[in-house]
Amino acid sequence: MTRSVFITAIHGIPIAEHWGHSVLDLATSAAEPLLRSDIASRIGALIVGNMLSGYLNSQENLAVAIADRLGMRGVEAIKTEAACASGAAALRLGYTLIMSGCHDNVLVVGVEKLCDGSHSKVVEGLALANDFETETMMGLSNTNLAALLTQLYCEAAKIDHSHFAKWVIRSYQRAKQNPTAMFRNGLTTGQYNRSPSVSSPLRVFDCPSIADGAVALILSHQPFDLGGGSSIEILGVDGASDSLAVTQRTDLLELSACRISANRVLHNAGCDFGDILHLELHDAYPIIAALSLEAIGLAKKLEGVDFLNQLILLGDSKQSLELLTFGGIKGRGHPVGATGLYQILDLIASMNRSTLDDSLGMAQCLGGLGSNCFTTILRKGPL
């Protein structure tokens, strides 16, 4: 037996350096507003997506810690970890619990508190997503790997790294209208060009920002009006994996986990990619955004960055596809375990902005440099 799954409530706190708040404070701030109605007593499970609560915040068994804080002792409590896709993995598990009939209502929380550690400790923590024996132990961080991929891509496509700049600037521009984004001042070409180099050819603004954040949502087997007289249904969440080490991939410039995960969810949801009108990608680094577009088939091989730049040239409003409407990870910041659910928050906001009564949206969340991927399809439909 499978049932429909709906998002019946969602709330995200602003992404920032929340100096005065612990990881539990952040999760509570996100979830408490959703629990004021009688729904709280009918929640059967709390699924928490988080990557580094043990490494940085000295707290594992995080789902129990949060359930306890929220006064929800007795619920089934599980933390899911899939590197930067932890939030999406939590959504996958929550979705499956309702779809399969195990629970009627599930609270899903994505939370990350990265600002508790020194910069070097956080970078080391984030590198835990990669292959320790062949990558991390050699001193490679996520940014180094992304930089190497970018160099490879530029060489293969015969382009300059500056081709990626416009996309970064557009992301920061879009984030100005995102109430939960960390960066709301925009970015000029001058500021981008003057920014320090981090790992050649990546500059500061090419890299995702260390930040704290939390999003909570309630999944239910029955719909609820999330605004504008429409419901948000999850048509599917599916994951796929690739080699852990970037260097072990058959083609270093192909994110096959993205391709497989997208195909799986489209198949299981019974839709075509052409039906998707709103898209959130995992644009932690511009190279990943470009490779994701190629993986899901929106752009041809080595033409991902061209596609991004075409989008800007033609003007986003003239596109039929709403891509990274609110700035993506670039403008939003990257509280890793919560990012997957911030994508859902932004996707719903993008879908609610549209005048169409019935539309589909897709969010793709990656772990590591594409070693893990979860793709979600949402449907905004009439109640």
Binding site: E17, W19, C115, S118, H119, P196
Partner: protein
């Protein structure tokens, strides 16, 4: 070489002109203690921080002062103290107390204050101790003396703030850790050109720059250094002081802030509502670096040097750990002037290589004799 306030030789000419008293505003609580005279010593050597970033990467576009191999916080403090005494006519044995604020004092148990007091001939009958509160140790000491002089425990005292700051090789702090000392001779307000108000202090146990006992080098607090540390304490103390005294930014000629770098004090000043004319003339971080405990005192010396009678200066210190003090200084009469030759301030003496810097900071030394 461009002549800026800190590169001009300090010349004070004796004069016995008319002295008049300017009444301070009733809402600021003025103490009965003032600054009789002051002296500063910034070591002559300069390091272009490009020499550091060329080695370890990163970007920099500034310089900092560098103590020579035979200098330390005590020797710098002594030189500043000697200079401060030249600006007034009190005898060393008239001093009731000498306090020394530093976070790089040579002995963990032996007061540099006593060494300096001995060297200037102020011993044996005076109070003397060293204070530490990161970069605000000197300012904390200042107000212990303000209280004592206002309560007439003694008439005269000296506050010395001095540091020869070190940082670990390759650490970000290497770009700013510098050296300087400032000494203030304090006396009864009726004898001084500059009167001090009582202060407001805001302190919390906040993670920031620190140095563990036994460690040669401090560790900085990363991004904690910003909003939760520097800005929280600086803004809280300054806002509280201005609120209590019912004063506004426009009431002050200058605003002195702790300058750990060139950006933070400007941002603090901007948030509080001060204009560039109130802080730009006293900025030194880009040229001299951060001399830790001597930081705010150096800012004070640069500000009061440019004041006229009736002007007020708002001072907000900051020390990691963390705490901020906020107080006002007002010039109430023309400052007395004595001729003092201050060659060291007139420096363009840049070290040539990173190796010179390593030798002067005792990181490398001869291995054979």
């Amino acid at each position: 070489m461009q002549r800026t306030p800190e590169t001009c030789p300090l010349r004070i000419v004796a004069s016995f002109g008319t002295i008049y008293w300017s009444k301070p505003i009733a809402t600021i609580e003025w103490s009965d203690c003032g600054i009789l005279s002051w002296g500063s010593y910034v070591p002559t050597f300069r390091l272009d921080t490009n020499l550091i970033s060329d080695q370890w990467g990163g970007q920099s576009s500034s310089s900092k002062s560098l103590a020579n191999i035979d200098e330390d916080a005590t020797t710098l403090g002594l030189e500043a103290t000697r200079r401060s005494l030249r600006g007034c006519s009190i005898a060393p044995d008239q001093l009731g107390c000498l306090l020394f604020g530093s976070e790089s004092k040579p002995y963990s148990a032996k007061a540099s204050a006593i060494t300096i007091a001995e060297a200037i001939g102020a011993t044996p009958w005076l109070g003397a101790a060293d204070l530490e509160s990161a970069c605000r140790g000197g300012i904390e000491g200042l107000f212990r003396l303000v209280d004592s002089i206002s309560n007439k425990r003694f008439s005269y005292a000296i506050l010395v703030a001095s540091d020869v700051a070190h940082a670990a090789i390759g650490d970000a702090l290497e770009l700013s850790a510098s050296a300087a000392a400032v000494a203030f001779v304090l006396g009864p307000a009726t004898e001084c050109s500059f009167v001090l108000s009582y202060s407001v202090t805001y302190c919390t146990d906040t993670h920031d720059f620190h140095r563990r006992d036994g460690s040669s080098f401090p560790v900085h607090g990363g991004r904690f250094t910003g909003e939760p540390a520097y800005f929280r304490h600086t803004l809280a103390a300054a806002q509280e002081f201005m609120q209590r005294t019912e004063t506004k930014p426009q009431d002050y000629r200058f605003a002195v802030f702790h300058q750990p770098n060139a950006k933070f004090p400007i941002e603090a000043a901007r948030r509080l509502g001060f204009s560039p004319a109130q802080y730009e003339p006293i900025m030194f971080a880009d040229r001299l670096g951060n001399p830790y405990a001597a930081n705010s005192p150096l800012g004070i010396s640069l500000a009061i040097r440019q004041c006229d009678v009736g002007d007020k200066v708002l001072v907000t210190s900051y020390g990691s750990g963390a705490g901020s003090d906020c107080f006002a200084i007002q010039q109430v009469r023309p400052r007395p002037t004595l001729i003092v030759d201050d060659k060291s301030a007139n420096s363009g003496n840049f070290v040539r290589t990173y190796a010179d810097y390593l030798r002067m900071t005792r990181r490398i030394k001869r291995e054979t004799e």
